[in-house]
């Protein structure tokens, strides 16, 4: 009977099994993981620090701008001071306080007697008429003008 030649016994190739990973590989992997985690940590910390710095700078900017807004508002308010506006209007612009216009219609004689005792009656003082300006004087010579 023919026999097959016996295959020479060979040392079987030992493939790495799941339960048997080389230590160097494991160490390398572990180092890689540690390095990745470390890198991630560094990156996160760096990014957080950068963001924190930017946040701080923005916060400072916000405070500065808020302070400037408050300062400007105060300046505007001080410029709109009623007394100052009044003074400017009168001194610089020559404005005068408005007086209520009085429409007068006199169709009856003044009362002969006042009901308050005479000594307590406040009588309006006659207001002297302001002198006519030169051009108003000239207008009197224009026919039809009074």
């Amino acid at each position: 009977m023919a026999t097959l030649p016996r295959i020479a016994a060979r040392t079987p190739v030992r493939l790495p099994s799941a339960n048997h990973i080389p230590r160097t590989l494991l160490a390398a992997l572990a180092l890689l993981v540690v390095a990745a985690v470390g890198l991630l940590q560094v990156m996160q910390t760096s990014q957080a620090a950068t963001a924190g710095y930017e946040f701080g700078a923005l916060e400072t900017d916000r405070r500065d701008l808020s302070a400037q807004v408050r300062s400007l508002e105060a300046q505007i308010a001080q410029s709109a001071n009623e007394g100052q506006m009044r003074e400017l209007a009168m001194a610089r612009l020559g404005m005068v306080p408005a007086t209520p216009s009085v429409g007068i219609k006199v169709d009856a004689a003044a009362p002969s007697r006042v009901t308050l005792p005479e000594r307590y009656v406040v009588r309006p003082q006659p207001t002297p008429l302001p002198p006519l300006s030169w051009w108003e004087s000239l207008l009197r010579f224009v026919p039809g003008f009074k």
């Binding site: 500065d64 808020s66 302070a67 400037q68 408050r70 300062s71 508002e73 105060a74 308010a77 001080q78 709109a80 001071n81 009623e82 007394g83 408005a98 209520p100 216009s101 009085v102 429409g103 007068i104 219609k105 006199v106 009362p111 006042v114 009901t115 308050l116 005792p117 307590y120 009656v121 406040v122 009588r123 309006p124 006659p126 207001t127 008429l129």
Partner: protein, 580 residues
């Protein structure tokens, strides 16, 4: 023992082991004491040593007027300090003092002397440096110079409404007025920065740091209108000067709501003129309209008349016989002008302001009902306006031992009792708004981090019926517009009001030479927009009656306010002709 060493511990080793053991025990005990028993104490000491806490000032809220204009507001500033410890290095300190002097425009030698006057701590060299200037100084990074954020109170209207608005002290607390009364609202919550520090007390970069942001203070909006306040103050100051008076007050209100539109006081002081070292400062910064009482005089005759009409005892045409005087008990009460007018109607009694008429009405009303009405009008009780120092008034009641029947007679024409100007105007407002007694208020809203709180008008009660109020309002209209050349008349407008003149009470009775001239009224009569009380204390210029002194001030003040409010005239204008 082959090597010659004993195989047991010698007494020396035992002793050494014992000593070392005891020492270790002592150390452990001490460690336990420090780490466990006294942990809190040492932790606190460590925190104090290594951690510094800086306070971040909170922005103080603004006080606004009715139009939203800031009467008081705050701006950011810096306080500048020198670190005395660092300035012990003289060379650097000299250079720094020169740099600092250039920035602050101060004398460098004085700065150097101040900064080296102590060996440690901070030396304050400038408070409330403007913000931009502070920022520029901060960028210079001068050796041993520190800046701390602070704030400065600004009063854009200056002394306007000084006693009402108040003032803030250096500590940031309100001293009087709204600044003090609403301090808890205006004051924010300061922020904190807690950081680790080195041995010199300087913050360590990148070390532990906790920060709590400051919470800005709330805003308080007043019912005061700065333009109306300005009108009132100008006219009051002019009147006090013109009549050589000791003092005066003007209150302007919206009678429909009780909102106070202006509260002027003379003399007064504000942020520009208040001298905190002046021992009499309190006389100039209190709201006399709510703190000071006076005898209202004839203005109170309107309340007496209202009580009699409301009870159905009289109507405007009811009459009595005025003989010029009336005897009550052992006292003889006479008219202010010693006149005797014969048969007089209620309308005429008010127009002529006759004391005998008030006594007649009080006898019709009776003591019990008279005081019931006066209390209903709010006399002798605080108005609860919300300002500090409010007086509640003085009024003797029939069950008081000191009360006598003469009190009823004199109280009827406003003597023998005391009320604040605000109480009087609040009571008179009843005739301008259908018989409702409105609670006066001066704050319209508060805006805080927790929300907006708006104050609504509060009707306290109805002392008289709407019909009675209308009748008395018409009588007050007749008092002004029914009398020729009455000082309170305003061309184009129907005015209702009543004058008051009272003697100044002194400890021994009354000062016959001093009066308080007053006028209370509202305008336009039919649909009142404002009510005004004018009170001029002790005029000495020859004129001293309410009709002479206070009524013209009312006319001028009310006319200007009508113009400002844009209220159309209610009748054809009449008056003297001024034609060219």
């Amino acid at each position: 023992m082959a090597d010659g060493r004993p195989d047991h511990l010698t007494w020396r080793l035992r002793l050494l082991a014992t000593i070392v053991g005891l020492a270790m025990c002592a150390l452990f005990v001490r460690l336990g004491m420090i780490q466990i028993v006294d942990h809190a104490k040492y932790a606190e000491e460590a925190a104090v040593t290594h951690k510094g806490v800086d306070t971040l000032p909170a922005q103080r809220g603004a006080i606004l007027d009715a139009t939203g204009f800031p009467l008081a507001t705050s701006v950011d500033t810096y306080d500048v300090y020198i670190d005395a410890f660092l300035w012990q290095q003289t060379t650097k300190a000299q250079k720094a003092s020169q740099q600092l002097a250039d920035e602050l425009r101060m004398d460098s030698r004085a700065l150097y002397a101040a900064g080296t006057s102590r060996k440690t701590g901070d030396v304050s060299v400038r408070r409330q440096l403007p913000y931009e200037q502070g920022q520029a100084l901060d960028k210079k990074d001068i050796w041993g110079v520190r800046l701390s954020r602070s704030s400065q109170r600004i009063y854009p209207e200056g002394d306007l409404a000084g006693p009402v608005v108040g003032l803030v002290g250096l500590d940031g607390k309100g001293l009087w007025g709204a600044e003090a009364d609403f301090d808890s609202i205006l004051n924010g919550k300061p922020g904190l920065i807690s950081s680790e520090r080195d041995a010199l007390g300087r913050p360590i970069s990148f070390a532990g740091r906790t920060e709590r942001d400051p919470v800005a203070g709330g805003e308080v909006q007043l019912t005061i209108d700065r333009f109306i306040q300005g009108i009132a103050e100008r006219n009051l100051n002019a009147a006090v000067q013109q009549y050589h008076a000791k003092s005066g007050q003007i209150i302007v209100m919206n009678p429909a709501t009780g909102a106070i539109l202006a509260m002027a006081t003379n003399p007064s002081a504000g942020p520009k003129t208040a001298d905190l070292n002046d021992p009499k400062l309190f006389d100039r910064v209190r709201d006399r309209g709510v703190t000071d009482m006076y005898e209202p005089g004839s203005v109170l005759k309107t309340l007496t008349t209202a009580a009699a009409i409301d009870m159905g005892k009289v109507n405007p045409n009811s009459t009595y016989n005025d003989t010029g005087s009336v005897t009550v008990g052992t006292y003889k009460i006479m008219n202010w002008d010693f006149s005797a007018n014969g048969t007089t109607t209620v309308t005429q009694f008010l127009q002529k302001s006759l004391n005998t008429g008030a006594v007649w009405l009080s006898s019709l009303i009776g003591a019990k009902d008279f005081y019931r009405y006066m209390q209903a009008f709010g006399l002798s009780e605080p108005t609860h306006v919300g300002l500090s120092g409010e007086a509640e008034g003085l009024m003797r009641l029939p069950n008081d031992q000191a009360w006598s029947v003469v009190d009823l007679a004199t109280n009827a024409y406003g003597q023998g009792l005391a009320a604040t100007p605000l109480q009087v105007l609040t009571a008179v407002n009843v005739f301008a708004n259908g018989g409702k007694l409105m609670r006066p208020y001066i704050v319209s809203s508060e805006v805080t981090a927790s929300g907006v709180r708006t104050f609504q008008p509060v009707e306290v009660r109805r002392p008289v019926s709407a019909q009675t109020a209308a009748t008395v309002g018409e009588l007050m209209h007749q008092v002004v517009d029914g009398v020729d050349l009455h000082g309170a008349q305003i061309p184009g407008y129907d005015v209702a009001g009543k004058t008051g003149t009272t003697l100044v009470s002194i400890p021994t009775g009354y000062d016959l030479d001093s009066t308080i001239a007053s006028f209370a009224g509202f305008i336009p009569y039919k649909n009142p927009r404002i009510s005004v009380l004018i009170k001029i204390d002790q005029p000495t210029g020859g004129l001293n009656l309410g009709g002479q002194v206070a009524a013209p001030v009312f006319a001028k003040t009310a006319a200007e306010i009508m113009q400002y409010l844009g209220v159309a005239p209610t009748k054809a204008k009449t008056g003297s002709l001024a034609a060219r």
